[in-house]
């Protein structure tokens, strides 16, 4: 019997459900883009000539070169750091436990723009707090510096911060795969006398190769779309990247929609190419999977490497979460940003302003967190249904699902915002100004992230379990619900958290779709950045960080409990 068909050879009920869902999702994603393209066809020659002019002047090529440098540099850094941290935390006695699980997410939990400003507060060459400490230390060694030694406003600074922002993409996916991995391989390596480092490099990480590749690819995709880091740092570093370039095309008036859409189409092509490359480079067979037999064994003992490993993890956590949050916390209490920390000048005025005086803040919290949870749940369920459900069909359905779900991956959020705005504003939809429109746009943006997580989770589940389920008489739908879904829960939760945090703090599409009636956190933060002050932005970001990290901690706690019970 061919996979993907019922006992009669015809598509079974569950397959029909999958097919219908896929068609629906395709229409949902393609229709708005089609409308946007159709509407701007008249401007197309202008767009083409603008691009031609841009290529001729070399400006566009420089933008593409900068983008490649930042994205691949950042993703490479993130892949190494994310995979090593996941290994330490999941497989060794150097694990930091629950806090180790929460804190690698910190660069994402601090909302976009504010987090980058936190870094600028630390690493500004003249007044950065970290630079101040380093200058003091070097001064004691007889080395006097006027500026630096670190400078965030450089290409290296931009790549570094981009990398840190991409670590969670890799970490969450690899950690989920490691958690589900049969430990007997590690044990075998250890029994044969391999060192922990050798075990990590030769055995454990290769066993989760698809997850690492999925993580790296997600990091690249996330990097191309990343906007907050290059908008804050790229201007001063003279590194114009594609997301900011396209943002500017839409942000000016009248917007250069045709040029923006053409460049976006090129980006979609790049991502599809990357996905194909991934399938070619990392075949889905030949790696470790969750077996129905065996179980978790003990953690790898690091011996004398335990402390350094813990130091590495703690150092990373300090560098990425504690320090920027501390920087922001200090500035949030100052009347204006100054490197002179005078506690007598500290004031809660910025907190009072953002919480009580700036009208939309409290509503923004309710809207954003609600939308974050709703979008994450919907996106993960859709991705799980399509990718896990079609996992063993190996046919066009699985491939088509993957392609469709990752379609919006590199569409800049501005483009998605514009497409949804012009599609769903006129009759019959008339969704302009509604929270439904925000939800739909967020869902479109969230699907690729959910899809990556679901794909990674699916690749870790062996065929034997679902086969056993089917032999025992369960249908595809029942196998999906009772076997595949529960087993992939940790991986799916990773996706849920990424989507939740992303959606709750989304900035660019929200600037078009959210308004006074349905304010969202990202919009309020952007307003404070463009029109307010650093202390206000810092105060808002401290509050947002507290709220989202509590939410994520609660989710992680329940997932872990569910996983352990399972």
């Amino acid at each position: 019997m061919r996979a993907g068909t019922g006992r009669t050879g015809l598509p079974a009920g569950f397959e029909l459900l999958l097919l219908a869902s896929l068609v629906l999702v395709t229409v949902f994603l393609v229709y708005p883009l089609g409308v946007a393209v159709f509407r701007t066809l008249g401007e197309a020659p202008a767009g083409a000539s603008a691009i031609a002019k841009s290529i001729e002047s070399g400006a566009l090529l420089r933008v593409l070169r900068n983008t490649a440098l930042v994205v691949f540099g950042g993703a490479a850094l993130a892949t190494v750091v994310g995979a090593v941290l996941a290994f330490i935390n999941e497989r060794t006695d150097g694990s930091l436990g629950a806090s180790g699980e929460l804190l690698p997410l910190a660069p994402m939990i601090v909302p976009p723009i504010a987090g980058v400003i936190g870094w600028a507060i630390l690493l500004d060459p003249r007044v950065g707090l970290v630079n101040g400490v380093l200058k003091d230390l070097l001064g004691r060694l007889g080395i006097t510096l006027d500026n630096g030694p670190l400078d965030i406003y450089t290409p290296t600074g931009l790549i570094f911060v981009t990398g840190l922002y991409l670590v969670p993409y890799v970490y969450l996916i690899v950690a989920a795969a490691l958690r589900g991995l049969d430990a007997s391989l590690d044990e075998a390596s250890r029994v044969h006398g391999a060192s922990p480092l050798r075990t990590m490099v030769r055995v454990t990480l290769p066993a989760v190769r698809p997850a690492i590749a999925a993580g790296a690819l997600t990091a690249v995709i996330g990097g191309i779309g990343l906007f907050s880091v290059p908008i804050v740092l790229g201007t001063a570093a003279r590194m114009d990247v594609i997301s900011v370039h396209i943002y500017r095309l839409f942000e000016q008036f009248p917007p250069q929609t045709a040029t923006g859409l053409m460049l976006s189409a090129a980006m979609v092509a790049v991502v599809q190419f990357l996905l194909l490359a991934q399938r070619w480079l990392v075949p889905s067979e030949g790696h470790a999977v969750i077996g129905g037999r065996g179980g978790r064994a003990g953690l790898i003992r690091l011996g004398r490497w335990r402390r350094p490993a813990q130091g590495l993890a703690i150092g990373y956590l300090l560098a990425t979460s504690v320090l920027p949050v501390l920087g922001l916390a200090i500035v949030s209490l100052q009347p204006f940003w100054t490197p002179i920390i005078d506690t007598k000048q500290f004031t809660l005025a910025s907190y009072t302003f953002v919480l009580f005086e700036n009208g939309p803040t409290s509503r923004a919290f309710v809207t954003s967190l609600g939308l974050g949870a709703a979008t994450a749940t919907a996106a993960v369920l859709i991705a799980a249904l399509l990718l896990l459900g079609s996992r063993h069909s190996k046919g066009t359905l699985a491939k088509a699902s993957d392609m469709v779900l990752t379609l919006p991956a590199t569409l800049p959020h501005t483009v998605i915002g514009v497409a949804f705005l012009i599609t769903f504003t006129p009759a019959p939809f008339k969704l302009y100004g509604t929270t439904t429109l925000l939800f739909l746009a967020y869902l479109a943006m969230a699907l690729p992230f959910a899809a990556r997580a679901a794909a990674a989770a699916a690749s870790g589940i062996g065929a034997d379990l679902s086969e056993a389920s089917r032999i025992a008489g369960a249908g595809r739908g029942r196998t999906f619900l009772r076997i595949l879904l529960p087993l992939s829960l940790p991986g799916l939760m990773a996706g849920w958290i990424i989507v939740f945090i992303h959606t709750a703090g989304e900035v660019t599409a929200s600037s078009l779709l959210a308004g006074a009636r349905n304010p969202v956190i990202g919009r309020v933060m952007t307003e404070l950045w463009v029109f307010g002050s650093f202390p206000q932005l810092a105060a808002m970001s401290i509050v947002v960080t507290a709220v989202t990290s509590t939410g994520v901690a609660v989710m992680l706690y329940f997932t872990r409990r569910a996983t352990l019970r399972g």
Binding site: S57, A59, R62, V63, I117, D124, P125, R126, V127, N147, Y153, I231, V232, G234, T235, A236, R238, D240, R248, F250, E251, Q252, F253, P254, P255, P335, F336, W337, T338, P339, F353, E357, N358, G359, V418, L421, I422, T425, P426, A427, K430, Y432, G433, S511, L512, G515, A516, R517, E527, L528, W529, V530, F531, G532, S533, F534, Q536
Partner: protein, 338 residues
């Protein structure tokens, strides 16, 4: 040149105002102004309409103070949406296309946007706004009224630069190399007008030297805060409203208005399809009134005379805003930003 000396740390706001050239010291004009905002019929109609909606590009603290006073006075709440010009244009277009308008009143600095939307008949003629008569012709078009002048300034950190800079030339002075911050002309709206003015006044060499001397800022507000923190020493083109806010908090910043300079004017328009037409008119007339102007332009520049706490305008030049977009790639290239 209209110099505003810095306020040293610990200096009072009053000192700052006394130093500020041309401050109008609260003449008792409020009672003498025409009572256009007091029209009982309009107020009653506005109250029946519920909540109003204002789209604005103004400092949140200032705009909150403005709508808070409006609510106190008339009992009518205003929801504020802050947008930069690109997003504002997209939204207003979407609102009109869908036949579901939200905005009642719009305050924006992008003249090209205003002209385009006026041609599409999005705005009512200003003759429908009570109080428009008190504004000079130079502050009006058929559908917009300038409610704030924001002349671009030179801003510096007084801890890093002790001597008041002489003018725009200080930005390209080799002694300031690596200490200059300037706004990226690609940000949209009116900042690029300043770059064009510099290019037309001092030639291409000025922008080239500026690019080599300094760093670009992605937006005015974050840029000025870096100056206040001492991350960079000198900045242009400064936005007076933001500088006033920093000086009020004793930040070590100084500001001057070298000649020639150009103004980023905030213009007010009433939407033709405003869902709350009476509120739109009442709110606009309040913003045009001396009381509204005193809140909106506190320590700043009003287009009408006799507003307490505002300053006399420096001399300003107006480059052609219609051609600005075509000039931006040239500016970016001279500044060496890509």
């Amino acid at each position: 040149m209209n110099d505003i000396p810095s306020t040293p740390a610990g200096g009072s706001r009053r000192n700052f105002l006394h130093h500020a050239a041309g401050v109008v010291l609260a003449p008792p004009l409020l009672a003498a102004m025409p009572a256009f905002a007091q029209d009982a019929g309009l107020i009653a109609a506005a109250r029946k309409e519920g909540k109003g909606s204002l789209y604005a590009v103004t400092d949140p603290a200032i705009i909150q103070a403005l709508v808070a006073r409006f609510k106190e006075k008339y009992g009518i709440e205003i929801e504020v949406t802050r947008l930069i010009s690109g997003a504002l244009g997209q939204r207003l277009t979407a609102e009109q296309d869908s036949g579901s308008p939200v905005a009642d009143v719009v305050m924006d600095t992008d003249k090209l946007l205003q002209e385009t939307l006026a041609a599409r008949r999005y705005y009512v003629p200003i003759t429908e706004i009570p109080g428009h008569q008190t504004y000079p012709d130079s502050a009006k078009t058929a559908t917009s009224i300038i409610v704030s002048h924001i002349p671009y300034s030179l801003v510096w950190n007084t801890s890093l630069i002790k001597e008041t800079p002489k003018g725009w030339e200080d930005l390209i002075d080799p002694k300031n190399k690596g200490r200059v911050l300037f706004i990226d002309p690609r940000v949209g709206g009116s900042p690029a007008l300043w770059h064009v003015l510099m290019r037309e006044t001092y030639g291409d060499a000025f922008l080239r030297a500026l690019g080599q001397n300094g760093q670009a800022a992605p937006s005015a507000v974050p840029g000025l805060q870096r100056i206040a923190a001492g991350a960079q020493a000198i900045y242009a083109p400064g936005v007076h409203q933001v500088v006033v806010g920093l000086v009020a908090k004793n930040a070590p910043v100084g500001e001057s208005f070298p000649q020639p300079t150009v103004s980023s004017d905030t213009c007010l328009s009433v939407m033709a399809k405003a869902p709350h037409p009476a509120i739109a008119r009442l709110l606009s007339s309040f913003i045009l009134s001396v009381e509204g102007q005193a809140i909106l332009n506190k320590d700043g520049f009003s287009p009408i005379r006799g507003v307490p706490g505002t300053m006399a305008l420096p001399k300003m030049t107006t480059p052609d805003f219609r051609t600005i977009k075509d000039k931006i790639p040239g500016l970016v290239s001279l500044l060496g930003l890509t």
